[in-house]
Symmetry: C2
DNA sequence: CCCTTTTTCGTCTCCACGACGATAAAGCTT
DNA sequence: AAGCTTTATCGTCGTGGAGACGAAAAAGGG
């Protein structure tokens, strides 16, 4: 054991949120080489005594400035091509985070400037390292997970309406869903959402019932994407 | 970059196969401390210039003695709790491999003795390191993937019958499936299997049509587990 | 030649889903 | 205040897939 190849291990984050009917990802602009001036996923080195999940959670709170309330964080995959970082052998554990839209603007407590960018208008080939591929994998994971988990509610505040959940699906999948069938599906799937009892006020149109996240972790049966 | 915490990175494998109507996993008995004498997942250190996938594929061929023909290999997840290895900070990238039953017995080209063990009769708490959890995650991944991918055929030889695929599902899911509905489902799902034109001979009962893997990578609609 | 085994084809029912129509309940306009 | 717009919510209808079976086909074994 005294003789093993030494690696650097980093944690990189694909942090997604829905704002203004567009899916956004949190990116930082690199201030130092390599890839100076390029956009990159937020992340950093894992401490030698730090758990991988803790490192990801730490980076998430550091970059978003949140006390880490709601939201979802899961491991996405590990990327370690020998030449992915020109500085040396760096293996990165990538994580996928889904957050509700933050009223707090991203005030970088870090040196680099962080910002939300709409994923559909990002040139992934311009991202630093292999972050273009990591982002693509994260988007695919998020889109797939909406099908068979209630994770769409991770994009919503603690209390939300069915229409807000539908907006998440329509934004992430970039497709239109029938409001009536969607309503039947969400309220009919056991454990997806729980009624709060109150309704919205002051919005346009008929007031909508408020819900919170239900206990379900899997959707049975799954939410189906159109055009099957 | 000159100053980063040094990690060791390993690749560990959850190699599954179906034999004698039981799901088996490939394990090796450790010959050196720590966990000397315990069963462990096969694996080893990643070379400093080696790609992660290549390392996993290398370990797979080394441990199974195969020239790596059929089968499936995908990344399962990365495990890196600071105390998971008493020798130091070791992060392991775990991989899931699905193989057809090997007529070749596992002749360890390695020092440690390798063997197939039935997963239902393994005391996962007795496995070395955190391999019990990794194995549990691998089994869950395999069971889930059978639902929405045609990966059950990865457990079968190049040419197989519908009944063989059904046996895979019944073994991995540990449940009984109706042969008639299963047959309709498999042959009716586009791209799942392709007819070879020939049939089995010398078996008991009516000869069965032979199939090979189809081009589909996803099952639409998915294969549903009973008791929903 | 009958029996057993296994494959393969049909049938029937139920339920979920897609496509809509209709109604309810608010704000907004004039 | 009356009508209009907007959005939420409830119903209905037809289709198609899945579960539960029945039945025929095609082999081997006694």
């Amino acid at each position: 054991m005294a003789d093993y190849p030494p690696f650097a291990v980093t944690a990189d984050l694909v942090v997604l949120t829905v704002r203004a009917d567009e899916l956004h990802v949190l990116l930082v602009r690199r201030g130092v080489p390599p890839y100076e001036g390029c956009w990159a996923l937020p992340g950093g080195f894992v401490g030698i005594h730090e758990d991988l999940f803790d490192a990801a959670a730490r980076e998430l709170t550091e970059e978003t400035g949140l006390p880490e309330p709601a939201g979802h964080l899961e491991q996405l995959g590990t990327y370690g091509h020998p030449t992915r970082d020109p500085r040396g052998r760096v293996v990165t554990v990538a994580w996928l985070a889904l957050l509700p839209d933050l009223p707090t603007p991203v005030a970088g407590s870090d040196a680099a400037a962080a910002d939300w960018l709409p994923v559909n208008r990002i040139d992934r080939a311009r991202l630093a390292f292999d972050h273009g591929r990591i982002l693509a994998d994260g988007l695919e994971r998020a889109r797939a997970k909406l099908e068979y988990t209630p994770l769409a509610t991770a994009f919503c505040p603690a209390e939300f309406t069915v229409a807000q959940v539908r907006a998440v699906y329509e934004t992430v999948w970039d497709t239109a869903l029938d409001p009536r069938n969607f309503h039947r599906k969400v309220t009919g799937t056991p454990g997806f959402v729980e009624s709060v009892g109150r309704s919205t006020e002051g919005e346009r149109g008929r007031p909508a019932q408020l819900f919170r996240r239900g206990p379900a972790t899997l959707l049975h049966p799954p939410m189906l994407r159109p055009s099957t």
